[in-house]
Amino acid sequence: MMEQDGNNMRQLPQQTTKKKRDRIGMVLYVFYALLLIITVAVLFKLVYFQLIWEPEPKIASALTPQIQKRIVEPVRGNIIDCEGRLLAMSYPVYDIHMDCTVMKAEYAKMKNKEKGKMKEAEWQDKAQQLAAGLAEIVDGVDAARMYKQIKDGRANGRKYLSIAKGVDRSTMLKIKALPLYREGANRGGMIVETRNIRKYPYGRLARRTIGFVRDNQGLPEEEIKGNPGLEGRYDAILHGKDGREYLKQTDRGRVRNYDSSYVRAVDGKDLRTTLNIDYQDVADRALRERIDSLEDLNGACLVLMEVSTGAIRAMVNLSRDPHRGNSFEEITNFAIGRRCEPGSVFKTVTLLSVMSDGIYKSLDETLPTNHGIVKDTKMKQDIHILDWERENKTHEISILNGFKISSNYVFGTLAVQNYAKNPRQYVEKVYSYGLGDSFDFDLEGLLTPLIPDPKSKYWSNTTLGTMGFGYATEETPLHILTFYNAIANKGKMVKPYLVECIEKAGTVTDRRGPSVLNASICSRAIADTMTRALLSVTEDGTARRLKSAKCKVAGKTGTSFATFANGKYSDENGRRQYQGTFVGYFPAEDPQYSIICAVYSRPTRTSYQGGGIPAAAVKTLVDYVYTNDPRFRTKLPKK
């Protein structure tokens, strides 16, 4: 009974609703029915599209969202000098192209054919004005030829005609303002692409040291080996890491597809070098001024180094460039890559050796002149000693005077007399002075010196004697400078370096800096004695030109000859290939900088001595540095 009552109660409201279907319910029901029909239609369409419909390939490709992979190029790090000035930077340039076909079809399809033709003629007229404008703005563009290219391109349906390559922003903006192009990409057909190139704000200054990189891209392994600049050596650090992203096409243009993987590009780090671009500029000018007009010279180098640290402040390498009218350009790094007999600058090695071994205690000790003939050897007579004998009416010469006049006899004798019984002792001395080995340098291509081995079959009766005054060995200018720098540094030999640190957004991530090659190649007292000897050369010897420098310079000149194919130091016409060198440090009383300058000649009869052009170029730089470097400022105490 109870159950029956319950059923009746359930049926009662249903019947009531059915009967009293109100207006709102009806409207909602119609709305629901409509939605239902639409849903069913959509479902059917979906099934149809998914399983049955086969679109035209053209439509299919247009409807399918395209995913495009894009390599995100990292920003290549800058190379900066010791004061933070930019030496190499990434610089955007523009390549401008043209879609010659823009609006062509639209004009052709116009219902009013006359109007279409008129519009086309108008476009052609603007193209002519564009060509004329381009000829004014872009170097090497001929208006008539450019217009013909555009006209032909339009006729042949060319969509990518190159207009200008590698133009800077201001030029690009000027081009953008020209007739036709100012109407935008869709009507004017202008296509602008940006790419980064490497720019060097200081032009070709220190270019061999800084290096070179093409189009801002990382260098392949084989190219790094052939590129001895910092750009090549530190390519991995400067380049950073490429990123990767996928793009999809949307109604609002191309956007990154966030469903795909994304690899962020890691920008390259900056390289802070030890170079001081002001010193580099002055050194470059000092050398160019003296060698530019001399046809006989085909190369020169100059290196300025800080004594206490080995930081290279300037490194100039000039050689004749046949592609630039035979002018001097930074092509070959002579400072590290030219190895030849050093000549008289090596006499300092012999002098330091005999002093360090305690064979001589004073520079004023004398040797018999012996008419310039080194005893017990077949070495050639030193005729300059005959002049000395005649001028000074003596048959003795002090070591200091021998050094001052750069006597081959004196230093040949010092080597033979003291080391003939044990030549290995002398050779080991040379190695201990860092003149026999290469070291890890910041540039690729530092050559290893050649030092003869007393046990080898090439060691002859004259080898030791000639080594004594700078022949029979081969050294790079950087090795010679490192040795002199050690004397200036009171015996402590530091390694020359070019990279101070690696920075990321101004923060140091990897500090490089000074390192020691040999803690003591000689005692402080002997270093001071060497300075005295070297000072005598600039005050009263072969480098007198430096006497008038703004501070005292201690140094040594050297002149050597390259060997010809015939194995001799002169060719059949009696011409010689000179290498004139000056190496030293300043101020002599408290050395702060060491410096080397070398010039290289073609076969010539004109003499190029170390005391000539190299000493003169050194003087210019010494004067500049001494006047401008903050460490040499005169301090006036307060009253």
Binding site: P92, R169, P201, D251, R254, R256, Y258, I277
Partner: protein
């Protein structure tokens, strides 16, 4: 003892018929007695709607990102251009030449600076 089957094949047709009738009359959820889950179903629809909406918003934001990237790149280009110009002008010999061209008598110092301690 074999258990008797409780349903007939014709029940499937009946079920379909009832289902379609329920859909047409809008009573499907009530018939399924899923009225108590209505909030959940509505919430699921809301989530779907939010998902689609967010996707559109993300596309919109990414297109803005692309536009702004273009603007930033333009700024960077201007910055690089100016930096290069300034750096080139700071070369010692370039400054000297400019001074000479302007008729200035300013020269490189000929003596060291004196610093008062």
């Amino acid at each position: 003892m074999e258990e008797k089957r409780k349903w007939k094949v014709s029940d499937i047709w009946k079920l379909l018929k009832n289902g379609i009738a329920a859909i047409v009359t809008g009573n499907l959820l009530l018939r399924l007695n899923a009225g108590k889950y209505f909030v959940h179903i509505a919430y699921t629809f809301l989530l779907f709607w939010i998902l689609i909406f967010e996707s559109l918003v993300a596309d919109n934001v990414l297109s803005k990102v692309e536009n702004n990237n273009g603007k930033i790149k333009e700024m960077e280009i201007i910055y690089a251009d100016k930096t290069f110009e300034v750096a080139s002008m700071s070369r010692r010999s370039a400054v000297q030449k400019r001074l000479e061209a302007m008729g200035s008598s300013v020269q490189e110092p000929t003596a060291q600076a004196i610093v008062i301690e």
